[in-house]
């Protein structure tokens, strides 16, 4: 009986906190549509989707890692390195389709190295990927001597192409969203990622090869970073060794707003997508309202604090309620039996 009532309250809070993010999204759309007549239109939505596509692809990678109790600070730098190598490959060979594979491969390799360092030397992901951030940026600058590469020719199709009226990066965004959703919900890897982030010791005691799974998570994230690199260079029509600075933080922001918990074990693909759109809509409406871009950053900062504070308070609130429920009820008569 006791468990039943306790769980009902627990479940109610959980439901409201689980869906609050979508509620916020809907409210934003409604309010924005009222404030600005230009907002609610297919072309504006298409624009927003294209604008957020690259950081959102990164956000899915970060989601996988953060759920697993990891993080990637090197995403921006690896994006530059992978994109640049993809561009250079295309310039050298003129091969269009393999060029994207090169980018993904380079990203995956960097991801693998991140994972290897984290698991082999038991380094915190924060530190290992911080090192990769520096190293990959340096490598990218070395490759071109700090120069930008221009005249990408047909390569721009990856980022600027349109298929059936949909911008190519948005198609990739949808594919990556589906992939992330599938991995998290329908594969063993996904379950293991949740388990490790939820309680690493328990995962190990359940026979999960923790290090192997962590390496896979880094590898997957790396592949997404590589893809994002190709899309980015292609979209700006240039190979920029200085591209992507700070992108990892935009990606993390989307993941966190979307309900991914930094303490691990919690997060969803759909949530991250919603988080990315919230940030995208916010930027869009502030632009439409003509808010100065510096102020926009301040507002975004405030939004992040609000989101995280809400996340934490909804969690601790739930815990308090549980404790209250279990304390309110007297301990069952059975416990009072002296048992030896």
């Amino acid at each position: 009986m006791r468990t039943e009532t306790r769980n009902l309250t627990g479940r109610f809070t959980l439901l409201s906190s689980r869906y609050s993010i979508y509620l916020i999204l809907i409210v934003m759309v409604v309010v924005s549509s009222i404030i600005s007549p230009v907002f609610f239109s297919a072309s504006n939505f298409s624009n927003i989707s294209r604008q957020i596509s690259i950081t959102t692809i990164l956000a899915f990678g970060q989601t996988l890692l953060i759920i697993c109790g990891l993080i990637d600070l090197s995403a921006g730098s690896v994006l530059a390195l992978a994109g640049l190598l993809s561009v250079m490959f295309y310039k050298a060979t003129g091969m269009f389709v393999p060029s994207i594979a090169v980018g993904i491969a380079v990203g995956s390799l960097c991801g693998f190295v991140n994972g290897w360092i984290v698991t082999r030397f038991a380094t915190p992901a924060f530190i290992a990927t911080l090192a990769m951030q520096t190293a990959a940026r340096g490598a990218a600058l070395m490759l071109t001597n700090g120069q930008n590469i221009y005249e990408l020719d047909k390569f721009v199709a990856w980022g600027q192409g349109v298929v059936l009226g949909i911008p190519a990066p948005v198609i990739f965004l949808v594919l990556v969203a589906l992939l992330t959703w599938y991995v998290l919900n329908h594969t063993r890897l996904g379950r293991y990622i949740y388990a490790i982030g939820g309680n690493q010791e328990a995962a190990r005691a359940s026979g999960i090869r923790v290090n192997r799974i962590k390496k896979w998570a880094f590898l997957l994230n790396g592949a997404l970073v590589g893809l994002a690199g190709v899309l980015y260079m292609s979209r700006v029509n240039a190979g920029l060794p200085n591209a992507g600075i700070g992108f990892e933080f935009d990606a993390m922001t989307a993941a966190i707003i979307g309900g991914t918990s930094f303490s691990g074990g919690i997060g969803t693909a759909v949530g991250t997508l919603a988080g990315a759109f919230i940030m995208g809509f916010l930027g869009n409406i502030m632009n439409l309202l003509g808010i100065q871009s510096y102020l926009q950053q301040v507002i975004k900062g405030g939004i992040i604090v609000l989101a995280v504070a809400y996340d934490i308070s909804s969690k601790t609130g739930r815990k308090k309620k549980n404790v209250a429920a279990s304390q309110a009820k007297p301990v069952t008569a059975a416990t009072n039996l002296p048992n030896p």
């Binding site: 388990a195 328990a202 026979g207 074990g265 009072n336 048992n339």
Partner: protein, 501 residues
């Protein structure tokens, strides 16, 4: 007698979610006496002293210090009331020095408000010299051995000139020479009129220092007697109490088959040595012992969670190497950990995910998730284990301890183990759920599974097991057949059998 007791507890009660830790706990400590408290693991000794030291607040009852009612809401208050405690668990900050640790939280100040380090080090040096301790004031704590640390803790408590000093198993980590120093100190304190609460499992030392002995059981006070009027047998009798039958399901007749798992001379070079055990098909084997005897360490090694350095493990007569948990699972060994929170549950994940965790290969057999098959599989095992929850998507952290434990059992049952190791399977869960877990254990044995049960509750082991091994100080101190079972025998093997260290 006739004096006001220096410390008196009246009707103290303490509840934790799901358990009553203390009930109507009343006793008094006389001025200038050593009051020893005896009780089984989990009887409430530590909770009791934590209440006196202000770490926990009682839910009911009152505490009197020298006849005056006090409210001890924190260890700081306790210190102000001249109560100090030498705790059983060593909590220390490895990077600070001996002097810093001695004065932690009560550092003397200079005229300018900064810490008077000169005085800290001077006083520490004086204290160390006076007490004949070999380390220096600027030695870092991480450089000290466990026994050094324990002695430091003791000296710290003693040097505060407290009126009430609690020693919670102070001798579990120190050498016999240091025990002598400690007892001399206790004698001095007693002569000065302090009241001393002393908790220990070692009966030999108990009679060296005790003036009074209180026995507690299941959170209640059983009796207080002058040490001169009581003997070990009487204490053990009171500690284990009478037996109540309706807490356990009737033990079915069992006819164990051939040996399934055998452990020979297993050791990890540190916490357990020369362990020989075997368990047969359909048999329930108990592993008894006090906390820290090495029981959990042995089964963790058998399950591949910790390494072992000597000896071998045989399954069905064939020597096997168990290096990691996967090896154990492949050999059809399953283990329920003693620490459910740390090694068991993923609190924020659903019952469904928690249950399926070890057997995902079955659910994801074809590479993708078979949602229906998963639900069917987990529903059937959950109902067999009698898990009570609104639905399978409920996060396991929201369930009661008993239901969490049933989910953990279900998780391991799904991989169809032949050998089940259950480490404290009923810790922290209520009697109703305990009964169900005992019934499940009996069913498993009836199905021909080999069950190893670790428990600190002796009646539980006696009611459940066919055979019991007793451990003390990292070794097997005895093996008892069913007809030899008695709490007194087990207790003796677990305590007296462990004297020689």
């Amino acid at each position: 007698m006739g004096d006001t007791p220096i410390l008196e507890l009246r009707g103290i009660e303490k509840r934790f979610p799901g358990v009553i830790a203390l009930r109507e706990m009343s006793f008094a400590v006389r001025k200038g006496s050593v009051h020893v408290i005896c009780g089984e693991n989990g009887a409430g000794k530590s909770t009791l002293v934590k209440i006196v030291n202000g770490i926990y607040q009682p839910d009911a009852g009152e505490i009197l210090v020298s006849g005056e009612k006090v409210h001890i809401d924190s260890p700081v208050t306790a210190r102000r009331l001249k109560i100090s405690m030498v705790s059983q668990e060593l909590n220390y900050i490895p990077e600070i020095t001996v002097a810093q640790s001695l004065f932690l939280g009560e550092e003397p100040r200079t005229r300018f408000g900064s810490i008077d380090w000169k005085k800290v080090y001077k006083d520490t040096k004086a204290l160390l010299e006076r007490e004949g301790l070999h380390y220096r004031a600027d030695t870092k704590l991480k450089e000290l051995s466990v026994s050094d640390l324990q002695m430091l803790e003791i000296m710290k408590a003693v040097s505060r000139e407290s009126n009430i000093i609690i020693f919670d198993e102070p001798t579990s980590a120190i050498t016999s020479k240091e025990v002598d120093i400690l007892f001399k100190k206790i004698d001095e304190l007693r002569a000065k009129g302090a009241g001393i609460i002393y908790i220990s499992h070692r009966f030999d030392e108990l009679f060296r220092i005790a003036d009074d002995v209180s026995v507690i059981r299941d959170g209640t006070h059983v009796a207080t007697r002058p040490a001169s009027e009581i003997d070990i047998e009487a204490i053990i009798q009171m500690m284990v109490g009478r037996r109540l039958d309706h807490v356990y399901p009737p033990k079915p007749e069992r006819a164990p088959g051939s040996t399934v798992i055998e452990v020979r001379e297993l050791g990890d070079g540190e916490r357990f040595h020369g362990i020989n055990l075997h368990a047969r098909k359909g048999e329930i084997v108990g592993l008894a012992g006090l906390m820290g005897a090495g029981r959990t360490e042995v089964v963790r090694a058998v399950f591949g969670l910790d390494p072992y350095t000597t000896g071998e493990i045989r399954v069905h007569g064939a020597p096997v190497k168990i290096r990691e948990v996967q090896d154990a699972i492949r050999l059809k060994i399953a283990m329920l950990s003693e620490d459910r929170k740390r090694y068991g549950i993923l609190p924020m994940r659903s019952i469904l995910e928690n249950t399926g965790l070890v057997t995902l290969k079955k659910i994801f057999g074809r590479g993708y998730r078979n949602v229906k098959a998963e639900k069917r599989l987990i529903e059937s095992i959950s109902s067999r284990m009698n898990v009570k929850a609104p639905d399978l998507n409920t996060p396991i952290g929201n369930l009661s301890g008993g239901n969490q434990q049933k989910v953990m059992l279900a998780k391991w049952m799904l991989c169809e183990p032949e050998i089940l190791i259950l480490d404290e399977p009923t810790r922290g869960i209520d009697v109703g759920a305990k009964y169900e877990i005992y019934k499940i254990i009996f069913e498993l044995a009836a199905e021909g599974k080999t069950v190893v049960v670790i428990s600190s509750e002796l009646p539980e082991l006696i009611a459940v097991c066919d055979r019991i091994y007793v451990m003390a100080n990292g070794r097997i101190s005895g093996e008892l057949r069913e007809q030899e079972f008695s709490q007194e025998r087990i207790m003796r093997l677990a305590t007296i059998g462990g004297d020689e260290n």
